[in-house]
């Protein structure tokens, strides 16, 4: 090495150190942004967990421990029946009416049993009314027609009557047990402290109720499933079809470019505006269709599941189209060439080569768009997702509520327990999204594997 060379070498070394340092700085910045995202996610999860679990103070009208020497839920139907007779004999007619009546309440006691009830009535009682039965006969109607679980609910609601009088959030419950106990002793001396998970199978399967402890998500969950089903049926074929047309068939004309630009812009339109569009078009203008009149449904409101599904479908259509276009464009041109070279028509090439190869990408994009639709609230408020609906949707022409809407409504209730209910509903909603996304990933991997061999 000559002397003239070495200063140059040093300069290179110095610059190299500088270059490497710059690279490290950037990689740290990128890491930091990831860490920030992760932190936000953790915070979100903690907030939800904080609401969905924690101590509650439950006050019983009758302490369940005094009813039987075994826990109530382990008793048989007959044993529960005994508990019922012993503690609430006078309520049995009401219980029968609430569970089996098929006539208006004011004529219930005067109607013969076979007409009044929707259950099997022994021939000997055919002409009797409810008031003419004795205790034993009343009990037999109840125990013969209710399952053990239903019997347990009846006992719980009619005798025990648990009532959540106070609730504490998860982290407070975890770290301030002493304070909670002190509060219990001074404010609710008769209540029992129970650690409660607000997400339970019962919560998912129960209809809406006025008490936080009894209310459930079933109505809203069914509403969401219906709306999403309609949304999928409407937006998937339409979106993929449009993408195929734009990528494979449309030439580079001014009109087609205008359409594409518009679709791109539509993807950014606020969702509330789609709500207004849905209100005008589906709820008002197409009311004969969306209310179901055209198939003979007796209804004059367009504020139905069908309108909601179509509106959400419109909302995510641009995103579906854009994603599907990207996926179709990513299919190598050589595959199309090979197909044409064998004498395939354009349609055969698209259907047998391009679409299967693009399907994993199309599905991924579609599920992402659908996840957005599931979480949408604003447009459905405009469409008129009803705030308090306690009956399950029965079809596309039902009125409806959906999970995010229900969450929104629960957070507005002044009763503090409903915040726990809302948190529980969020967990259910997130689980639904998680299941859908995993399904998408599994589906995509299966297709990709099939393609790559």
């Amino acid at each position: 090495m000559s002397a003239a060379e070495s200063p140059k070498k040093d300069a290179f070394k110095e610059r190299l150190v500088q270059r490497q340092a710059r690279g490290r700085l950037w990689s740290r910045l990128f890491f930091a942004s990831n860490a920030f995202a992760l932190l936000t996610l953790i915070l979100l999860a903690l907030t939800i967990i904080n609401g969905a679990f924690g101590y509650v103070a439950v006050q019983f009208r009758v302490d369940p421990d005094t009813l039987s020497d075994r826990p109530l839920e382990t008793l048989s139907e007959a044993e529960l029946g005994d508990v019922l007779v012993a503690n609430a004999a006078g309520r049995m007619r009401v219980i029968i009416r609430d569970n089996f009546s098929q006539v208006p309440n004011d004529v219930f006691t005067t109607t013969p049993l076979p007409a009044a009830l929707n259950v099997f009535i022994p021939t000997a009682w055919q002409t009797l009314t409810i008031n003419e039965l004795n205790e034993e006969q009343l009990l037999s109607i109840i125990t013969n027609n209710l399952s053990q679980e239903q019997m347990y609910d009846v006992v719980l609601n009619n005798i025990v009557q648990p009532n959540v009088v106070a609730s504490w959030q998860f982290f407070y419950s975890l770290f301030n047990r002493a304070a909670i106990e002190a509060e219990m002793a001074s404010e609710y001396p008769a209540a029992e402290l129970i650690f409660r998970s607000w997400v339970t199978p019962r919560f998912i399967s129960s209809p809406l109720a006025t008490e936080a402890a009894d209310t459930g998500l079933r109505t809203a969950l069914l509403g969401t499933l219906w709306v999403i089903a309609i949304c999928v049926l409407f937006s998937f074929p339409l979106g993929v079809g449009a993408a195929i047309y734009l990528e494979e068939y449309a030439d580079d004309s001014f009109i087609n470019r205008l359409i594409e630009t518009n679709i791109r812009n539509l993807a950014g339109v606020p969702s509330i505006i789609y709500g207004l569009l849905g209100l005008t078009v589906f709820v008002r203008f197409l009311v004969t269709i969306t209310s179901g009149q055209f198939v003979g449904v007796q209804s004059d409101t367009g504020r139905t599941i069908l309108s909601a599904g179509l509106t959400l479908g419109l909302l995510i259509l641009p995103v579906i189209i854009i994603n599907a276009q990207e996926a179709i464009r990513a299919v190598p041109y050589s595959i199309r060439e090979a197909s044409y070279g064998l004498g395939a028509t354009k349609w055969q090439t698209t259907w047998r080569q391009v679409l299967p190869a693009a399907l994993p990408g199309i599905l991924t994009g579609f599920i992402l768009a659908l996840s957005r639709a599931i979480g949408e609230t604003a447009p459905l408020i405009v469409i008129g997702g009803a705030s308090f609906i306690s009956f399950d949707p029965s079809g596309p022409f039902s009125r409806f509520t959906v999970v995010p809407l229900q969450i929104y409504n629960w957070t507005k209730v002044p009763d503090i327990e409903f915040r726990n209910v809302a948190a529980a509903a969020i967990i259910v909603l997130m689980s639904l999204l998680l299941i859908m996304n995993s399904a998408a990933i599994i589906l995509r991997n299966r297709f990709s594997k099939k393609l790559a061999g």
Binding site: S334, E337, A338, G341, L342, G343, A344, Q348, G453
Partner: protein, 268 residues
């Protein structure tokens, strides 16, 4: 050009334009039946362009236009009543880069027959075996037809593409530099294939490899580039057919000095 033999395709004053830009001018050329014709020439002289006119693959390029006649079975391929789909079924193509479908070996080969409506399993099985044997690939893949075509080596992939194209029983196979992505042994394999299994097909092959043209082909067409200065210092270039002859004659006693220079490696 005193050339004898039956002609499958005849090009008559064929000129090709891309978006009104002349790419190849006035090519007149016979493609001999059941013979191998090689296209050679410097890069950009229009070999691929002419080749892709023979089965109307250029229709897929927006703005491509073909003048002149390409006569196949007494029919101008560019006549209005001719469906390019029909043309491509009879005149198949193998591309420069092996491009098997992302499907199993079996489905790759069965694709063409299925397009034509063959659905019976045993008929397809028979076509697949015959085609794979025809492309000298059967012995290597017979046990594993369910394997993805993409899992094969480059040379095997290219033979799969050949099997795929002969599955629809074309008259003519067009090959655009089919060996340029392959190693010498795989190349040799394909050349042998062309001489033996594919000897009943009419083959047109584009190649940059002089030895390959000499070894494998019966006739050779040499293309070159013509230039013309336009106003503003822009140069206009287009391809022309310089010489067409039996391969042996073209390489040993070329008529044109340009041909002689090119095959001697003095330009291009």
């Amino acid at each position: 050009m005193a050339i004898t033999g039956e002609t499958t395709i005849h090009l008559n004053n064929v000129s090709v334009y891309y978006s009104n830009k002349l790419a190849v001018k006035d090519v007149t050329l016979p493609i001999r039946k059941q013979k191998i014709t090689a296209f050679i020439g410097p890069s950009g002289c229009g070999k691929s362009t002419v080749l892709r006119c023979l089965n109307r693959m250029n229709d897929l390029v927006q703005g491509a236009r073909v003048d002149g006649e390409i006569i196949y079975r007494d029919q101008n391929l560019y006549a209005r009543n001719v469906d390019p789909v029909e043309v491509r079924r009879r005149i198949g193509m193998v591309f420069q880069k092996p491009n098997p479908f992302p499907k199993s070996i079996y489905d790759n080969v069965a694709y063409g027959p299925r397009l034509l409506g063959v659905t019976r399993k045993n008929q397809l099985d028979e076509i697949v075996e015959r085609s794979l044997r025809g492309a000298a690939l059967w012995d290597e893949v017979a046990g594993d037809l369910k394997k993805s075509g993409l899992a094969l080596s480059g040379g095997q992939q290219q033979r799969l593409c050949i099997a795929r194209s002969i599955a629809v029983e074309p008259d003519v196979i067009l090959m655009d530099e089919p060996c340029s992505a392959l190693d010498p042994i795989a190349t040799q394999r394909i050349e042998q294939l062309m001489r033996e299994e594919l000897k009943d097909y009419t083959i047109v092959i584009v190649t940059h490899n002089m030895q390959q043209a000499q070894r494998a082909s019966d006739y050779t067409a040499f293309y070159s580039i013509r230039k013309e200065a336009e106003s503003g210092g822009v140069e206009r270039r287009w391809g022309v057919l310089v010489e067409f002859a039996e391969t042996e004659k073209l390489f040993n006693s070329p008529e044109s000095g340009e041909t002689a220079d090119y095959i001697a490696g003095r330009f291009g």
